[in-house]
């Protein structure tokens, strides 16, 4: 049975419909990431699961019990906020003990649980400090401590890492994932960072414009994007979308003068249909065609070495695309070159609707 199920949930603010017909189901212990650009409704959805916002339609249930009409405190959830929302006047241990205090736990039981949580998060030495005297990473830990101490059935994270610097963000990402593996609690995590989504999630819901564009495992989202939005949002650099037309034979795509066979995973639309061919930057390589590969003549107009990789911007068949080549690849700026690309798994999208055309 699903631990959390969100069925047909919508949200209307006055005239504006910000969420429409959201359907998500996850099992107990899963790590669900809601990802999307700002304004897509992901935080609204999280706040509705938390009970901080009412839902306009649909239902939310947890372990088979409807929770969308319950007060936040009765939902057995804990939440970590983007600004951490630590209580400024309370010390670290009082912050962490606050939910227990509200639940009416005796003082010594409170302190014992606070001690356990502080040990788990390695913040024992900060117990007496006020939030103002903590660094960003420490505040983050205290906020997590305050969520952990109640032993909730469901953790909600609202962009918890976006206020940290790049290095700390990566460290905390690993730490949250490790914590999840250790505790096995169900998590819903909101982020606009697709790398966070890919690295942490069991399930991803990609959101845009108030609807779920695709809901699936990270592999499904990455390998079989449902539409051009998901295809370009997930992955860095973004997937290239090349304008093409299905040629007369119905088995190949015409990109200018070039003919490329329709990828095996794609369904073949009728001849003359305008489509977009999705090519991930990492599928490219320098050199001629091989098994399942297509050679594309191009002109390199910009090179960005990142260390492990080289991002090369290439002009091909009248369109510009970004390729990601291993470091040490022999490429020079402003030269002609021939690249080959694997089209084995390349998705094809309807140019009008943006929907993916898969064979199965």
């Amino acid at each position: 049975m699903a631990a959390l199920s969100i069925e047909g949930v919508g949200k209307v603010f006055g005239e504006a419909e910000v969420l429409r017909d959201i359907n998500i189901e996850i099992e107990a212990g899963e790590f669900l990431v809601l990802v999307g650009p700002s304004g897509c409704g992901k935080s609204t959805l999280l706040n509705m699961v938390a009970g901080l916002l009412s839902i306009s339609s649909g239902r939310i249930s947890f372990d088979g019990q409807r929770i969308d009409n319950l007060e936040p405190k009765d939902r057995n959830i804990a939440m970590v906020f983007q600004s951490y929302a630590l209580y400024p006047a309370m010390s670290v241990e009082k912050n962490i003990a606050f939910p227990l205090r509200m639940a009416g736990l005796p003082k010594d039981a409170q302190m014992q649980k606070v001690g356990e949580v502080c040990a788990l998060l390695q913040i024992e030495h900060l117990r007496k400090r006020k939030p103002a005297a903590l660094s960003g990473g420490q505040r983050q830990r205290v906020a997590m401590g305050r969520a952990l101490v109640r032993d909730p059935k469901l953790f909600l994270f609202d962009e918890p890492l976006s206020n940290l610097d790049a290095k700390l963000r990566v460290d905390m990402r690993t730490e949250i994932k490790r914590l999840h593996q250790r505790l096995g609690t169900t998590i819903i995590y909101v982020t606009h960072d697709q790398v966070e989504a890919m690295t942490m999630a069991n399930r991803i819901a990609v959101m845009e414009g108030g609807i779920v564009q695709q809901f699936g495992t990270p592999a499904e989202i990455y390998d079989r994007p449902a539409n051009t939005f998901v295809a370009t949002f997930m992955g860095s650099p973004a997937m290239n979308l090349l304008d093409a037309v299905v040629d007369e034979s119905g088995t190949a795509l015409a990109l200018g003068d070039l003919r490329v066979p329709i990828p095996p995973i794609a369904a073949a639309p009728p001849p003359g249909t305008p489509v977009k061919l999705g090519l991930r930057p990492e599928w490219f390589d320098v050199g001629g065609a091989g098994e399942g590969r297509v050679a594309l003549p191009g002109h390199i107009d910009l090179i960005e070495p990142t260390g492990p990789d080289i991002y090369a911007s290439v002009e091909m068949v009248g369109q510009r695309l970004v390729t990601r080549l291993p470091a040490g690849t022999d490429v020079t700026q402003n030269t002609a070159c021939t690249l080959s690309v694997s089209i084995e798994n390349a998705p094809l999208f309807d140019a009008q609707t943006g929907l993916a055309l898969y064979a199965d």
Binding site: L52, P72, Q82, A85, P88
Partner: protein, 296 residues
């Protein structure tokens, strides 16, 4: 700011700055000095009688005496009673304690609700409360007298406290609302998730960080209520007169010689509590006034 720090003024400039500031301070302190000096002088010294011809209002007392203070406090004649200001001082203390406490608490709760618990029509209610800040005192005198009579509070001290509450709450609400608007909503959300209700969030989470704005509201209300004359003169009966009304009655007597030293001592007694409140709370006053302007 770093640019400012690089241009620290030189010694000469520093001396000049301090000289100007000192002069300005002396200038503004002159009336206070005149009051204190006069209150410590004897009447002949004040009126420039024989032996004191060269005295001015700013000449320090030659034989300082606190006799006038004693008279003002316990034996000066106000209306028919010659018991000094002490009874009225007590009236004012009772009035100010209740009026300040309740107007600040109601203002804090109103501000909390208007800033953090949005409801339908909240902006209209806030607008109406704001309107209350702009109603001149004189306009409400007669309707208020009718209302106090209707509520059977005419001429009483609690009637006067009620009037000050009506006038104070719009201001305190405005102060607290604008302060709480700057507190992140996530703090309230976190409280709700952690199981805190409406009152626990207010008392346990917001109150402890509201000291600056409490000080502003208390100073504002204390000064207004303590210094009020019009409401005191209009609504308080003989037993409930506040200090400001009594001071007026003391100073404005038209019989006998004017005892300037007693008048000045009385005025000083009336001014001391507000001075005390500023000295104790002034540090937070400026901080509280500007806290909405800059990000914490």
């Amino acid at each position: 700011m770093t640019v400012e720090a690089a241009r620290t003024p030189g010694t000469l400039q520093r001396v000049l700055i301090y000289a100007v500031l000192l002069l300005a301070a002396l200038f503004f302190l002159m009336p206070l000095a005149a009051m204190v000096f006069t209150s410590l002088k004897t009447m002949p010294e004040i009126t420039g009688a024989a032996g004191f011809e060269s005295n001015t209002i700013l000449t320090p007392p030659q034989a300082p005496s606190t006799e006038a203070w004693g008279t003002a406090w316990q034996s000066a004649c106000i209306a028919v009673a010659c018991e000094g200001l002490r009874g009225y001082f007590w009236n004012s203390i009772v009035m100010v304690v209740f009026a300040v406490f309740f107007s600040v608490m109601f203002g804090a709760i109103n501000g909390y609700v208007l800033a953090k618990w949005r409801f339908r029509g909240d902006n209209i209610i806030f607008g109406m409360l704001l309107f209350g800040c702009f109603i001149p005192f004189q306009i409400v005198l007669i309707p208020m007298a009718r209302l106090l009579g209707f509520l059977d509070m005419a001429g009483t001290l609690h009637g006067l406290i009620f009037v000050h509450l009506c006038y104070g709450i719009p201001f305190t609400t405005l102060f607290f609302r604008n302060f709480y608007v700057t507190i992140p909503d996530e703090l309230i959300s976190a409280g709700r998730i952690d199981g805190a209700g409406f009152w626990s969030i207010f008392f346990l989470i917001l109150m402890p960080i509201s000291l600056p704005i409490f000080v502003v509201a208390i100073i504002w209300q204390f000064t207004n209520v303590w210094n009020d004359f019009l409401f005191g003169a209009s609504f308080a009966g003989a037993d409930a007169r506040p200090l400001m009304v009594a001071l007026n009655n003391l100073v404005n007597t038209s019989t006998g010689t004017k005892a300037y030293n007693v008048d000045m001592a009385g005025a000083m007694i009336a001014a001391l509590p507000t001075i005390l409140v500023y000295v104790v709370g002034g540090r937070y006053f400026v901080r509280g006034l500007t806290s909405g302007a800059v990000k914490g």
